[in-house]
Structure formats: C-alpha cells, structure tokens
C-alpha cells in the first residue's frame, strides 16, 4: 500500500514537473524535464556511479568515524569530571565556528583527496552525537541512580552496564541528526576542492551548462540520502529494542 502511494505521489510530481517545462517553455539549460534527466541518468550512468561511489565511501567512513569519536567523547566526559571541566567549554565554543567555513582550511591541510571529505563529515557528526549522548548518560532517572547507589556500583561499571544502554535511544537520535548533516558536509568538501565525487561532478556540469547532468547527480545524491536514512532508522530501532 505504502509503495503504491509513494509511486502515485512520485508520478504526479514528475508529471507536474514535465508540465511546468512544457508550459513555461524554459530552456533545458535552466530547467530540464524529467525525461531529459532520465536520459542523462542513462547516458552518464558509469560516470555517475563512479563518482557516487567516491562520495558514498567518504560519507560512510566519515559518519562511522564521527559517531565513534562522538561516542568516545561522551563516555569520556561522563566518566571524568576533570574531562568535563576541561573539554566541555571547548566543545561548545568550537560550535560557534560554522564547520562549513572550515572546509577551505581542511582542504588546504589534507588535500583534494578523500581525507579532507572524511574529516569534514567527522567534524559535523561528532558534536551532535557527543552532546546528545552525553546528556542522556548524565540523566539517569532518580530511582535508577538510587539503585546504582544501593548496589554499590563502581562508576565505570555503572557507566557501561547501565548508563550507556539506557542512553542508546538517545544515540539513535544523535545518529539521525548526523545523517542529516553528513551529506551536506561531504558535498561542501567536494565543492571546495576535489577531482572526484558527485559534488565535483555537479560543479563541472554547471560550468559546462550540462544542467541535465547536474540534476542527474542530484537524483543520485537524493537516493543516497534516502538509503542512509533507512540505515539509520534500522539502527535506531535496534537501540530501542525491548523498551516499553
């Protein structure tokens, strides 16, 4: 049922799009119709795939590394009051710098290859994961805090056996935020300087007036984003298993 409905919605949107192109008589280099974009998708399929693979790989590696780093940061902050005192103000202050403004510097230091894109993704993913998870680690319900106290729990054990599992659903929400930000970061990284990737392809197509190729790259990017969301959704449902 859902699939049928999605199909109908998509068909209507495509028809409206095509109607708009025909009705306004806009030239294809301003607004190519869906048929033209489909044509570009077919024509440039190998090129699109190759660049998409580069972008997707950087996205996934950056996301995984960023989430892992965020997790470690949150655990470290929750485990040590000293770390909280030293790192927390720094983390918050670091958020005053828009990460996208760092892209030229990151590219300057790490070059045009994969490393600069991965680092860009890590930078935007790290903070939401770390801060959402840290808050959840520190906000155990009072009855559970009492239980830890009366069972004479060691702090590290309490963190790993009770606080972290209790905070897992929050990690799921952090992942959601991360999945929203990560594609931005990887594309910005490619725009600033890259010889491969969908962002690079879009810039190149734009320069050559190949608007249909730009749209085709956009379609691939959208599909990638949707797949990422489905994956994160799966992970989030896993973190909430067994909860009432």
């Amino acid at each position: 049922m859902t699939i049928v409905r999605a199909f109908v919605t998509a068909s209507v949107a495509l028809l409206l799009w095509q109607a708009l192109v025909w009705g306004t008589g806009l030239p294809p280099f301003i607004l190519p119709g869906p048929l033209r974009v489909a044509g570009a998708l077919a024509t440039y399929a190998p090129m699109l795939l190759e660049n998409a693979r580069f972008t997707a790989a950087n996205l996934l590696v950056g996301l995984t590394a960023g989430v892992a780093l965020g997790l470690l940061t949150a655990l470290n902050l929750a485990a040590s009051p000293v770390a909280r005192g030293l790192m927390r103000p720094m983390l918050v202050a670091a958020q005053a710098v828009p990460v996208f403004a760092l892209a030229p510097i990151v590219t300057l230091w790490l070059g045009y290859g994969a490393a600069s894109k991965i680092v860009m993704v890590m930078l935007v993913v790290h903070f939401p994961v770390a801060s959402v998870l840290f808050d959840a680690l520190m906000r155990l319900p009072q009855p559970l805090e009492d239980l830890l106290h009366s069972l004479r729990a060691r702090p590290m054990r309490a963190l790993l056996l009770v606080r972290l599992p209790h905070a897992l659903p929050a990690l799921g929400s952090g992942l959601r935020l991360a999945a929203v930000h990560a594609p931005f970061a990887v594309i910005v990284g490619e725009w600033v300087g890259s010889s491969r990737g969908l962002g690079h392809l879009m810039l190149m197509a734009n320069g050559r007036g190949q608007t249909d190729l730009m749209f085709a790259a956009l379609v691939v990017l959208a599909l990638m984003g949707a797949a990422l969301f489905a994956l994160v959704d799966l992970l989030q449902r896993w973190t909430e298993r067994g909860r009432p």
């Binding site: 106290h149 004479r152 909860r243």
Partner: protein
C-alpha cells in the same frame, strides 16, 4: 550476619524544612517494623536515610554510616533494566561491583520467588507481579541484614499484592525490615511492630498478638486494621 536494631530518634529535616519533630521509634533486630502516616510526613525520607541514599535529609544527630553496605532497598517502581533478562537483572549487583556473578544462586533465588522457567524473559514480557518478584530476587541475592521496603506492593492488584506480601514475609524473615506503607491492612498483616508518623512525632500502633504474616480473615487482624485506619484518619484531619 546479625541484623542490627535501628533507633530512629530526633527531628526529621530535609534541607531547611522540618518534616516531623521529636520522632522516637525503634525497629527491632530481625523483625518487621512498619511506618505508616500521611503523605509528606517523611516516611520515604526516613527510608532513604536508613538506606544511605544521597539527599539533603537528616534525622537529629543520627549517623547511619555504620549501616553502609548493609541495607538493601525495594521500592514501588521495580527499577528493572528493560534491556536485560530477569536473570541479568538479578545478577546486576555483582556485575556492577566487578565481581563474578553467582549465576547458579541467582537461578535458585528466581525459582524460590516463583519465577521458574521465566529466567530469560525481559521485564516487558513479565506481569507487574512477576516484575516485583524479580526485584525481590535482586534484593534477596544482595543478602543484606537490613531491608527497606518503600511501598513495594502498592501498585499491584489486591490478589497479587497478598501473594507478594506472603512471599516477602517468608523470604525476608530474620532480617531487620523497615516497611513503609499507606495500607493499614498491609501493616496489620506483616509487621511485628508498627508506628504512626505525624508532623508532631511518632507513636506505636496496636497489632494482634500472633506472629506475622497474619491472615486477612482473622477477626483480630480486621479489628487492628480498623483501629489503625482510624488513627491515620485522625492524624490527617489534625
């Protein structure tokens, strides 16, 4: 492990607010002592003090440091970890202290509280009564001489509650138990001695002579319950 006697004497404060003045009550060693009283008089606060839970409460000049590590707590919410099985919940204390959990004993205790065959269920797959049985097993395996029960049965239906009362009375006998409750019948059934707490102090309540757990149908239990009920009504009207 000889269970200690508890002497609770003095004014009960929480922060700068005095909840009750001139408390003077005794919980005999190895016996069930019941605290009754209107809401807000500090029964749970007193329980938390005895259990050594963090907070701003204090009772006169009493120092409960000697009880540290000797008190187990069972509260109204079962506080079970939703992602862990019944067995894992029972062995939680040992694992939290970095000790090797005694799984055989945990299974044994779970059987004793009537959960044979349900060891691997998660809390969501257990009834309210069964979850309180897991909480009781978790309390029992800690094997502490003093147990604070803070309204542990008040969320259960009448039949399940009576069954849990009998089970707890049997399993916790020989320990110094401080039972906090709103329910005169519960006090009459389970306690060796019972105290009414008000803002102006504490006074002992009369209980039938036979030893607990007493039967609901016993006329002496019903009479004592009625008397406690009246005493509580007077104290909350005042």
């Amino acid at each position: 492990m000889t269970p200690p006697e508890l002497n609770l004497r003095g004014d009960l404060w929480i922060g700068r607010d005095c909840l009750a003045r001139g408390l003077d009550l005794r919980a005999a060693a190895g016996r069930w002592t019941c605290l009754l009283g209107p809401s807000g008089v500090g029964k749970s606060t007193l329980g938390r003090l005895v259990a050594g839970l963090p907070g701003s409460a204090r009772l006169g000049r009493a120092d409960f440091a000697s009880l540290r590590g000797q008190v187990a707590v069972m509260a109204q919410q079962d506080q079970l970890l939703p992602w862990a099985s019944a067995l894992q919940n029972v062995t939680l204390g040992a694992r939290l202290r970095g000790a090797a959990p005694d799984v055989a004993r945990a299974r044994d205790v779970l059987d004793q509280v009537g959960l044979a065959g349900l060891h691997d269920r998660r809390p969501a797959a257990l009834s309210g009564g069964q979850r309180q049985r897991v909480a009781l097993a978790r309390t029992l395996i800690e094997d502490r001489p003093v147990v604070v029960l803070d309204e542990p049965f008040s969320a259960l239906d009448a039949g399940t509650r009576a069954a849990m009362q009998d089970l707890a009375a049997q399993m916790l006998s020989g320990r110094t138990v401080l039972l906090i409750t709103h329910d005169p019948l519960e006090a009459t059934r389970l306690a060796h001695s019972a105290w009414l707490l008000t803002a102006d102090g504490s006074r002992p309540l009369h209980l039938p002579d036979m030893s607990p757990p007493r039967h609901v149908r016993d006329p002496a239990v019903l009479v004592a319950q009625a008397a406690i009920f009246e005493a509580m009504s007077c104290s909350s009207a005042a």
